[in-house]
């Protein structure tokens, strides 16, 4: 349902993405791995319209979205979270979600109703009226996830959600992600460095690996993490 064809993007001399081609199928969870600076976040930025690629095309359900604005892409049903969380710091938890549901409903009451359903679902209704500056790292992650869910997306891009969380917190987030796949029929594209969480907790359907902007491996999780190129890419950066 999401097709990325021959996408390249460079920043000055750095080739952040080098002729990347991949596709996501309806209702699967795909992990995206690769060493720091391999272009994972850049790929998300290109998909959601924050960056224009130098070359290549992106199709969503057969429709080209390559040069659409971020707001149009979002309205088509592609929603994302940000590396290290991104919330409107001045607003409360519920307002941070309402801001995302307003474009769907254009009525404050309906937007609030939708936002409340989602925070109830995720069990964070108690912190609904709290300013997000007062939240813990884990709560911020959940709020960002709630905001994404409230957009009723078809495709969700998640950028590094497990970092810095306890075992139990990782487990909770994994459950939410599985719920998103099962109950919302969402397709999830997920950048993560904690590969164990991908394989053991969420049980992703596929993994794609990037290195220096190039796609180096793709396939079943066990295959990809045992792939020679992938191991070298990871070992390369740790210099073992």
């Amino acid at each position: 349902m999401l097709e990325i064809r021959n996408i390249s993007k460079h920043f000055g001399g750095i080739k952040a993405l080098d002729n990347v081609t991949l596709s996501l199928n309806q209702n699967e969870i795909v992990g995206l791995i690769g060493p720091n600076g391999s272009g994972k976040t850049t790929l998300f930025n290109v998909i959601c319209g924050l960056l224009k690629p130098d070359k290549g095309h992106i199709f969503f359900n057969g429709k080209e979205i390559t040069n659409l604005s971020p707001e149009k892409i979002s309205r088509l049903g592609i929603s994302r979270t940000f590396q290290g969380t991104r919330l409107v710091e001045d607003l409360t938890v519920i307002e941070n979600i309402i801001i995302a549901t307003l474009p769907l409903t254009n009525s404050y009451d309906k937007a609030e109703e939708l936002a409340r359903t989602v925070i109830n679902k995720l069990g964070i209704e108690k912190i609904g009226e709290v300013k997000v500056t007062a939240l813990t790292h884990y709560e911020r992650k959940i709020v960002e996830l709630a905001r994404t869910i409230a957009c009723k997306p078809k495709v969700v891009l998640i950028d590094e959600i497990m970092a810095g969380l306890s075992e139990e917190e990782q487990q909770n987030i994994a459950e939410i992600m599985v719920w998103m796949k099962k109950e919302m029929n969402a397709t999830i594209f997920w950048i993560e460095h904690i590969i164990r969480a991908m394989i053991k907790l969420v049980k992703v359907d596929r993994i794609i690996a990037l290195e220096s902007g190039k796609l180096i491996a793709e396939g079943k999780p066990e295959e990809v993490i045992t792939n020679k190129n992938v191991i070298e890419a990871y070992l390369g950066i740790t210099n073992v």
Binding site: S69, F82, V88, L91, L102, P103, Y108
Partner: protein, 295 residues
């Protein structure tokens, strides 16, 4: 100093301070959401002052009615103004481009408006006397019109507070101000929000113009002075911080009145800009600023 004198100075400072705060708020809201430094902003204030002046002088229409009439015309005028800026400036993704071309285009508009107003109505300063009888309030004498402008300014501040902090428009505007990139990623209709910011900003300018004309002289070029004041006060209060603009406006009101009463009005601007310079050297993001994210 006698106690009544102190009350009098507090009242005068608040009267001008609330208007300063409003002017800065309108400028701040527009800049922090759209990145357009609207040089024409001050001339909107002037234009509104003239509309009020002429309606009162020629047809005896109360300035309180002009609050509505003038806002209506200025918002009408804002629509093509917005359209031009949207087409040639706001469509860019580059903030520097928006800031520079925003200044160039609105500067052009400003020259055009000031020229037209001085051609049509001459460069002479004008004023009118409306409700200028003295009222006694706990032993302090005020001009009734100054008293009423203060009340209108306070009401407008309440209205804006409600709009910014209690409505969906406010949530969206504050979201766009704090993180435009995130807002567009959440699917917010940026064009609509920019238009709303323009309308609110023009509405504030027109109300301020009416209120200023009720107690001060107006002339075709005064917009430049109010523009600079709006800019300075907004920077001191913090770009992107509506409450900061208000507090900083009231602060400037006190500085303005106290300097005028003690040292004398001729040194007013020298001292105000020296203060600005000091503040910007030590706190470049303003006294209450939190730094706006550059997407």
């Amino acid at each position: 100093m006698e106690i009544t004198n102190i009350f009098f100075i507090i009242f005068l400072s608040l009267q001008i301070g609330l208007i300063y705060g409003l002017i800065a708020l309108g400028f701040n809201l527009l800049y922090s959401s759209t990145r357009i430094i609207n040089i024409t902003y001050g001339d909107f204030i002037t234009l509104s002052g003239y509309i009020t002046f002429w309606l009162y002088s020629l047809y005896n229409i109360s300035p309180f009615l002009s609050l509505g009439i003038s806002s209506f015309f200025l918002i009408l005028f804002t629509l093509p103004f917005f359209y031009i800026l949207e087409k040639f400036v706001l469509s860019s993704k580059n903030i520097l481009y928006i800031e520079i071309w925003g200044v160039i285009i609105t500067f052009g508009f400003s020259i055009f408006l000031q020229g037209t107003m001085s051609y049509l109505w001459s460069a002479q300063s004008r004023s009118y006397a409306y409700l200028d009888n003295v009222i006694d309030f706990f032993g302090v004498s005020f001009l009734l019109n100054k008293f009423l402008t203060t009340i209108v300014a306070a009401l407008l501040i309440f209205l804006l507070y409600f709009l910014l902090f209690k409505t969906n428009i406010g949530i969206m505007l504050r979201g766009v101000i704090q993180d435009p990139e995130l807002a567009s990623n959440l699917g917010l209709n940026m064009r609509k929000i920019f238009l709303i910011a323009f309308i609110i900003s023009s509405f504030i300018a027109s109300i301020s113009g009416v209120l200023l004309s009720m107690s001060f002289e107006i002339n075709p070029f005064m917009g430049s002075i109010y523009l600079i004041l709006a800019f300075v006060i907004a920077v001191v209060g913090g770009i992107g911080n509506p409450l900061g603009s208000l507090i900083s406006g009231i602060l400037f009101g006190f500085v303005d009145v106290i300097i005028s009463y003690t040292i004398g009005p001729s040194l007013k601007f020298f001292i105000i800009y020296s203060l600005l310079l000091l503040i910007l050297i030590y706190r470049p993001w303003g006294l209450m600023g939190r730094g706006v994210r550059y997407a």
